[in-house]
């Protein structure tokens, strides 16, 4: 059957017998994919007089945009914050494994670390710019400095693993009282708060997607302003800020809250603290404050999850905050510069009752959130896809199934169990 296909000869795949998440609803619609992007079939029909080359029968399953995890510290024995000789290999291993949880894009998270760790991980991006080909990089590295370690960088996903959207730097500009599991000796304050402070600690910001900081630190406004201006999402967390300090931070550009309720002042009816941002009337018009929730059933009581969700459903972003032990058996392990103990679904700082991160997977979080909040399937799926994409300002290409966006999606059954994961229209994992 000849067809025009005037725009492209690339093969077209049509996913049929499925319900897709479109316009915030699950609808019985086919999903069309070409060249790694979601295709508009009506335009194909009328403009190109084209049709599908392959049809995939989804057997009545759900297709949702791939999940996006903006806070994940490691997993499967890999700790992103640990100085290692094969950081790229470590990220790649986790990136590959999380495909099983439906995660197609993520932000590897570095907890508070000494400055030289940041410099090691972030500095090679400069050399990457100088050197035109990756192939030459090892040669150049040998010539310039044998100490340099391959860094964490922004990378498209594919069969090798989920895509890296950028690094999430959680610290070191955080509050000592609310440091949680972060090592106190590496906490920092701002001298002037400007670029100089940030560069002195971090080294380079090219591949950074998010920074978590405590806005009550002196001179934080300048830092928030500087980071936001570079397109880096500033998140408030590990902080003692009151509501007006938090609101000021939002006015300077902050747009996210790191694991709401955890590592911040508790909600008080006369000073709601950072939690009060969910219903603040001081958020600049047209902007939304998003907030991360660890919906593992442990870090947040289901009633608290419901209060947050009902107060501000559009801002809820599911995060795993998964630690190195995610995917590992129970026992003692290392996180950042410290030790933790795994017991069942709990991960404690060794010798304390302080939680040091969760070991739930993203798909578990989606299911738990749905059950605990009683929300719709659509809302649960959007909390793991659309909302993180909106927060990072990338919803024009990720987090939705709109025409022209990247074809990163998951096939789920009605229990919201991941059956298949696709990146750029290619199947990268199946159960």
């Amino acid at each position: 059957m000849p067809s025009n296909k005037s725009v492209s000869d690339a093969p077209i795949t049509q996913f049929v017998n499925c319900r897709i998440l479109k316009d915030h609803k699950l609808q019985w619609e086919d999903l069309w994919v070409r060249e790694g992007k979601i295709l508009n079939p009506e335009k194909l029909f009328f403009d190109e007089e084209g049709f599908a080359d392959h049809k995939v029968d989804c057997e009545d399953k759900i297709i949702a945009p791939g999940f996006i995890d903006v806070q994940i510290n490691g997993g499967y024995g890999i700790d992103f914050s640990q100085a290692s000789s094969d950081i790229r290999g470590g990220v790649a291993l986790v990136a590959k494994k999380i495909l099983e949880h439906g995660v197609t894009s993520f932000c590897p998270t570095l907890v508070t670390s000494p400055s030289d760790i940041y410099h090691k991980f972030l500095i090679v991006s400069v050399l990457q710019k100088v050197v035109l080909l990756d192939l030459l990089a090892p040669v150049m590295l040998l010539c310039f400095s044998p100490q340099v370690i391959p860094e964490l960088r922004v990378q498209d996903g594919g069969p090798e693993g989920a895509g890296v959207l950028g690094i999430h730097l959680e610290g070191p500009f955080i509050s000592e009282e609310k440091r949680g599991a972060h090592p106190p000796k590496f906490l920092r304050t701002f001298k002037a708060g400007g670029l100089a402070d940030l560069m002195e600690i971090y080294g380079h910001l090219d591949n950074v997607a998010m920074v978590t900081l405590a806005p009550e630190l002196a001179n934080s406004a300048a830092a928030i302003h500087e980071l936001s201006g570079r397109g880096i999402a500033v998140s408030l967390g590990h902080s003692m800020a009151d509501l007006s300090q938090a609101e000021e931070a939002v006015q300077h550009g902050a747009k996210f809250i790191t694991h709401l309720f955890n590592a911040m002042l508790p909600f008080h009816h006369r000073d709601p603290g950072i939690v009060g941002l969910l219903t603040s009337d001081r958020v600049p018009p047209g902007r939304t404050v998003y907030y991360g929730m660890i919906a593992d059933g442990i870090h947040t009581h289901p009633a608290a999850l419901r209060i947050a969700h009902r107060a501000h459903p559009a801002g809820l972003v599911l995060v795993t905050d998964a630690v190195m032990a995610m995917g590992l058996p129970p026992g003692r392990h290392t996180l950042g510069q410290q030790q933790i103990d795994i017991q069942g679904l709990h991960a404690y700082l060794t010798g304390t009752t302080t939680l040091s991160g969760s070991i739930a997977t993203m798909d578990m979080c989606v299911r738990h959130f749905r059950e605990a909040s009683g929300c719709t399937v659509e809302a649960a799926l959007e909390a793991a896809s659309l909302h993180p994409a909106q927060m990072l300002g990338i919803s024009h290409r990720k987090g939705t199934l709109e025409y022209g966006t990247d074809a990163d999606f998951v096939v789920l059954d009605d229990t919201l169990t991941v059956r298949e994961t696709y990146i750029a229209g290619q199947k990268v994992w199946r159960k």
Partner: protein, 260 residues
């Protein structure tokens, strides 16, 4: 004419869809001999389209060798606007069946030369061998396609300005904002539809009853352009009980008796 009266909208839609299905199947279309079908838009034919899709999904009906010609399209409305007739046909029909894109024909309301577009449409119909069965509806003012009251009964495909009645009737598709409804359309003429070998008009609902009365119980008149089909050799009017409310009891009884 044949006047087929069913009890309600669903039964009328089903009767019409079965008629279309049977005509196509009995025609036995092939790559050398396509079945040419004229198609309407609007709320009336939705039930009929749903049934046709059902027959296709059951394996009883294929549109592989069917060519379709739609009656009309708005002028100046972007083709991917949710209320364009292209969008209507894609969402309500084409995307659910096996019709080939190049076998569908809808007037292009964004063509740079509208008159040339209309002339080309007429030629496409001729080149396809004429229309075997033209399915249409009726407006509350008795119009067929967008041949508003006063349209020539021998008219061909052309640009038409919409009557106030039609704009008001269409406002519900544009958020009830009259200023958003397109005022001009491209439409097949009365003469164009009269050229079809067979015509089937779907009329359902009490709000169409007066128009049906004017179309079949009064004279042929350019103020009620559907009345032109009184002079067509093979026309079927398919309606529900409510649409017959303005007809003489005698007319209704006569045609109902012919159904059994």
């Amino acid at each position: 004419m044949r006047l087929v009266i069913l009890d309600d909208y669903d039964l009328a839609s089903e009767w019409a869809a079965k008629y279309i299905r049977n005509r196509i199947v009995q025609f036995k279309p092939t790559a050398d001999r396509y079945f040419t079908l004229g198609l309407p838009t609007g709320s009336t034919p939705l039930g009929c389209y749903r049934k046709l899709i059902e027959y296709h999904k059951n394996g009883d009906l294929s549109f592989k060798y069917v060519k379709t010609f739609n009656m009309d399209e708005y002028v100046g409305l972007p083709r991917d606007h949710p209320e364009s007739y292209h969008s209507y046909m894609w969402n309500n029909f084409f995307k659910h069946i096996d019709i080939e894109p190049q076998n569908t024909h809808i007037l292009d309301g964004n063509a740079s030369d509208l008159q040339a577009e209309c002339a080309a449409f007429e030629q496409q119909i001729t080149a396809a061998g004429g229309i075997e069965l033209f399915v249409g509806g009726i407006g509350p003012d008795g119009h067929i396609a967008f041949n508003e009251p006063g349209s020539s009964l021998v008219s061909r495909t052309r640009v038409k300005t919409l009557a106030k009645d039609t704009i008001v009737a269409n406002a519900r598709f544009f958020g009830n904002d009259l200023s958003k409804v397109p005022t001009m359309t491209l439409t097949v003429g009365v003469g164009t539809v009269m050229d079809a070998r067979e015509v089937m008009i779907l009329i359902t609902g009490a709000h169409k009853a007066f128009a049906l009365y004017k179309a079949i119980e009064e004279g042929v008149n350019h103020m009620w352009t559907v009345s032109a089909f009184q002079q067509h050799p093979r026309t079927i009017f398919v309606c529900d009980e409510d649409a017959t409310l303005e007809l003489r009891v005698k007319t209704v009884k006569y045609f109902k008796a012919r159904m059994h």
